[in-house]
Symmetry: C2
Subunit: 229 residues, 2 copies
């Protein structure tokens, strides 16, 4: 079962988030009192679409996948997030989550209740502006993903997923936590198609596959495949 620790034991998790720098110590202390840390084991659901969720989720440690789900069990993984990222989702416009968050590794998530947070935002424009910029930047990443999904075919999509993952701050070893199904759901193609495309890339010596581990050999070639779609 998940363990709730309160107050949060990750004292620096706010300071580590880029958009909290404009808060005074006093404000930081206030936010800290709102925090509630929860541990999740690999594979556990952190947040389910349709669930009541008035929280901002601050990843303290570990990696999560953020995805959308259909009523059949089709899924699309929008993004992977590691430490010091915040999942805002639709919490500023609704208390019902429209996405699902699952732990890819053991994870500690700090929950920040949104209402007092909004009060802080209203009081401190600099902070809110930084937050908005932060969200905007992440929007650009999602934009690139959207472009991949809507405008490319399998090879381009899989190349993009590989490049997306190796460029994450947490980097290369994330592959060990991802199943083939995960990769397929990131590329929005079938698992078999993903496997075959990875095999192709390996045969073409663009990547090296060892069990789940994937290492990029020819980054330029992957970028070219991404480019042509």
């Amino acid at each position: 079962m998940n363990q709730t620790i309160k107050p949060c034991n990750c004292k620096d998790c706010l300071e580590r988030c880029e958009f909290f720098i404009r808060l005074s110590q006093e404000e930081l202390d206030k936010v800290n009192t709102l925090k509630e840390a929860v541990k999740y084991r690999k594979g556990e659901v952190i947040l389910k679409k349709g669930a009541y969720n008035p929280y901002l989720l601050l990843i303290s440690s570990g990696i999560v996948k953020v995805m959308i789900e259909a009523d059949n069990d089709k899924r699309f993984i929008m993004e992977l997030l590691g430490p010091h990222n915040m999942i805002t989702g639709n919490v500023f416009s609704s208390n019902v989550s429209n996405y699902t968050v699952v732990a890819l590794t053991d994870v500690v998530v700090c929950h920040l209740i949104v209402q007092p947070f909004i009060e802080l935002m209203e009081e401190n424009g600099r902070f809110t502006t930084d937050l908005l910029k932060y969200m905007n930047k992440h929007g650009s990443d999602r934009f690139r993903r959207l472009k991949s999904i809507t405008l490319k075919q399998s090879r381009g999509k899989v190349a993009d997923v590989i490049l997306y993952i190796v460029n994450l701050p947490t980097g290369n070893d994330i592959f060990k936590s991802l199943t083939r199904k995960d990769l397929a759901e990131m590329a929005n193609i079938s698992m078999e198609n993903a496997i075959r495309t990875l095999r192709e890339f390996a045969d073409e010596k663009l990547i090296l596959m060892d069990k789940k581990d994937i290492r990029v050999i020819d980054s330029d070639a992957l970028a070219r495949i991404s480019q042509i779609g």
Copy 2:
């Protein structure tokens, strides 16, 4: 050629945007001095992906389509926006646009230069919070679109596009401004596929097609098709 009118002649275009309500008259006046209105004719490009763009775009009148483009000429129309909507895009994190905006009808767009705007945001947390909520709400719409594109097949996608359009504030008559290619690019399928699917819906008496005009007859059935994907 486009006509630049400065200062902007649409005095109320700020007041009409929901997120400007928390500005004082003084602040509003300040923003008004930053505004530059530009007229575009139907079909003209308002903003091109890759172009330098340090502006927030405020739609004063008319309808625009916001889309992403590949290097080949494949396109995906993300959203349609009408009067009193603001296109923020990625302007808070980059001055190079990653999307293209095209006028679907004759359009007047107010350009707001971003830097002084950001200063205002930093000074007025209430305003910035409202703006962020506004963006978040629009994010939810995009979310629904993403869900449609990634998890459904043609019939579900086309049903979603129809429902999306008829639920826009500007409503039903937008269809008159949209080509079959536009509808296809909204559903992210080929034009021929879109045409055939629309024909199906018409044969099944779910919609009524008269030239470009589309009228929904059986909204529930469309919702059901949307539901099952």
